[in-house]
């Protein structure tokens, strides 16, 4: 999509299956091909259980894919040795939804922020204070916060700390898994502004998972829509409102409640439930809830097809 930009991270035919206790196969990710470009944001949206978190856990090497390749600057990171994987963690860092659960509650902020740097021997112990101050400044927090504990901070401040910790190693890729979902709207907005500013300054690639399409469309360069382990549409961020073609993407857009929505307007909600990932139907994954579903949809699984610049749709009937 961005022809002149460097490809930082690319996945090729990623499949992840889990075996359940009853020996059934749960397919969390099914043939995922996505590309993240230097200094750009890739947003991934989808409902709970669609496999988006599994996907980023694969990218951060917390899980290994069943098959497929993850290329970081054309190097396949799936088969890295332990040492290589450890070294590669410096390049790909992650921010989680609940910062409280990702901090050690007994560590002070200064230790939380500098631990990754000490781990990779980037700084000496004597430099901790200066570095922590610098990092706090970067996320717009006062320097005396470094002697606090995570529990004596608000949710928004904690999320700033996790951002600072993730960026302390100056990674090339930052992965955010619902990083703002637990925050109030006004704080969410501040965090997004901060994220976008840091991206511009440091030229970071961001992969942002979210279930809020409106939020993600406000700062993503590309948006991938996921349903039941499949990518159903990849679309440039600014085109989503009018250009989205897949019926599921349209349904997501129609389910958004805008403050300025007229009360007379009928909300077009999708009926039914997401099928179980243990038993993915043959053919199109969206067939059970799609109002345009035809005979072919039940037989053949649609593949992602290019329909415009940087715009791919997996639907037989999207022209």
């Amino acid at each position: 999509m961005f022809k002149d930009l460097e490809i930082v991270l690319q996945t090729q035919h990623i499949v992840k299956q889990f075996k359940t206790s009853k020996n059934q196969m749960l397919v969390a990710c099914n043939d995922i091909n996505l590309t993240a470009y230097k200094g750009k944001t890739l947003g991934i949206v989808g409902e709970s259980g669609c496999g988006k978190s599994t996907f980023v856990r694969l990218l951060t090497q917390l899980e290994t894919p069943t098959s497929g390749k993850i290329l970081y600057h054309d190097k396949d990171i799936v088969h890295f040795s332990k040492k290589e994987a450890w070294l590669n963690r410096q390049n790909i860092q992650m921010v989680f939804q609940d910062p409280m659960a990702s901090f050690n509650p007994k560590m002070k902020i200064i230790d939380i922020l500098t631990e990754p740097l000490l781990n990779f021997k980037r700084i000496k112990r004597s430099e901790k204070e200066t570095k922590a101050k610098e990092l706090l400044e970067m996320v717009e927090l006062p320097a005396d916060f470094m002697y606090r504990y995570p529990h004596s901070m608000s949710g928004g401040q904690r999320q700033r700390i996790s951002l600072a910790r993730a960026l302390s190693l100056e990674p090339e890729v930052l992965i955010c898994d619902e990083a703002t979902s637990a925050l109030d709207v006004s704080i969410q907005r501040n965090i997004i502004q901060l994220l976008v500013r840091l991206q511009k300054e440091k030229n970071i690639t961001i992969i942002f998972i979210c279930h809020d399409l409106a939020l993600i469309s406000s700062f993503s360069h590309q948006i991938a829509v996921m349903y039941l382990g499949h990518i159903v549409e990849v679309i440039p961020g600014e085109k989503i409102k009018d250009g989205a073609k897949h019926p599921y993407t349209r349904a997501l857009i129609d389910s958004q409640f805008s403050v300025h929505l007229s009360q007379d307007k009928q909300i077009k909600a999708l009926d039914g439930e997401v099928p179980s990932p243990l038993d993915i139907p043959q053919g199109c994954p969206f067939q059970s809830r799609c109002k345009y579903c035809k005979e072919e949809c039940r037989k053949e699984k649609p593949v992602l097809k290019e329909v415009g610049v940087g715009h791919q749709v997996a639907c037989q009937y999207s022209k």
């Binding site: 944001t41 409902e47 709970s48 949710g155 109030d184 709207v185 006004s186 704080i187 969410q188 907005r189 997004i192 502004q193 976008v196 279930h211 809020d212 399409l213 409106a214 939020l215 469309s217 406000s218 700062f219 993503s220 360069h221 961020g237 600014e238 989503i240 409102k241 349904a251 997501l252 857009i253 129609d254 389910s255 958004q256 409640f257 805008s258 403050v259 300025h260 929505l261 009360q263 909300i267 077009k268 909600a269 999708l270 009926d271 039914g272 439930e273 997401v274």
Partner: protein, 261 residues
């Protein structure tokens, strides 16, 4: 039908969490209380329900339900009111259901607690309520445990239970916050149908201003225990008086809103 006059609630002996809260609800009206976490929204609803935690107490003011004060009610009187006249929906109805009993047995017990009905009649009543909530295969749901249902289905079971006795007042504490957007849209549609079909009044707590704007007749904006804005939907959304409301409205992500890149 419901009038809250100068309500003040305090926890332990600290300063009041809520001061001077006034609200009147008419029949068939949907009112949303919005505000950020810790602004006292849930305390208001709990005070109406008479379900403040042990440390909390109403230090002044009065709550009138059809001109009767709710404050001096005894346990037995509350038992008659709750679940039949005033009902409540929680953020996650799944966690208010007993995890080791099937939906059917809990539902039947709930119905028989409030009216004289045979088990068979109660069962049929429950099934018909589930059908009304557009839950497919309701007999099957009655025979399921809560963990076998998805979040959206559990929420609909919760709403069905709450509506069994056509409660006049429904209190909803973040009824859609834990749900996905498509499920949220379904639940919002169902709650609005309640009002249209049964004339139920709803007081809803939410932090989603979009949902509040779509559903409500009146919106109350709270910040740190105080009401900073109150009025009809149109007044609050289009002509907010306080800076806080303006800030909140500006922060809501919109599909064609502000772009950061």
């Amino acid at each position: 039908m419901l009038q809250i006059k100068n309500l003040a609630v305090q926890y332990k002996n600290e300063l009041p969490m809520i001061k001077d809260f006034n609200l009147s609800v008419e029949e068939g009206e949907i009112i949303s209380i919005v505000g950020e976490s810790g602004s006292g929204k849930t305390t208001v609803i709990r005070a109406i329900m008479g379900a403040l935690s042990r440390e909390g107490k109403i230090s002044s003011g009065d709550i009138l339900f059809y001109n009767q004060s709710l404050l001096g009610k005894s346990r037995e009187e509350w038992q008659k009111l709750r679940g039949t006249e005033i009902s409540m929906i929680f953020q996650d109805c799944g966690s208010t259901l007993n995890p080791i009993r099937k939906i059917g047995s809990q539902y039947v017990e709930y119905i028989r607690m409030h009216t004289k009905m045979s088990k068979k009649e109660a069962w049929d009543k429950a099934v018909s309520m589930l059908d009304k909530m557009k839950l497919a295969d309701s007999e099957n749901i009655m025979n399921s445990y809560p963990h076998q249902l998805s979040g959206g289905m559990r929420q609909r079971v919760g709403i069905a239970m709450v509506m069994t006795f056509n409660a006049k007042l429904l209190l909803a504490d973040e009824p859609t916050s834990a749900l996905d957007v498509t499920t949220q849209a379904q639940i919002v549609r169902e709650m609005m149908a309640l009002r249209d079909n049964f004339g139920t009044s709803i007081i809803m707590i939410t932090h989603n201003l979009g949902v509040a704007a779509y559903m409500s007749d009146k919106i109350v904006v709270m910040q740190q225990g105080k009401v900073v804005d109150m009025g009809t939907r149109d007044e609050v959304i289009n002509y907010p008086s306080s800076d806080y409301t303006k800030k909140l409205l500006a922060a809501v992500p919109e599909m064609e809103g502000e772009s950061f890149v």
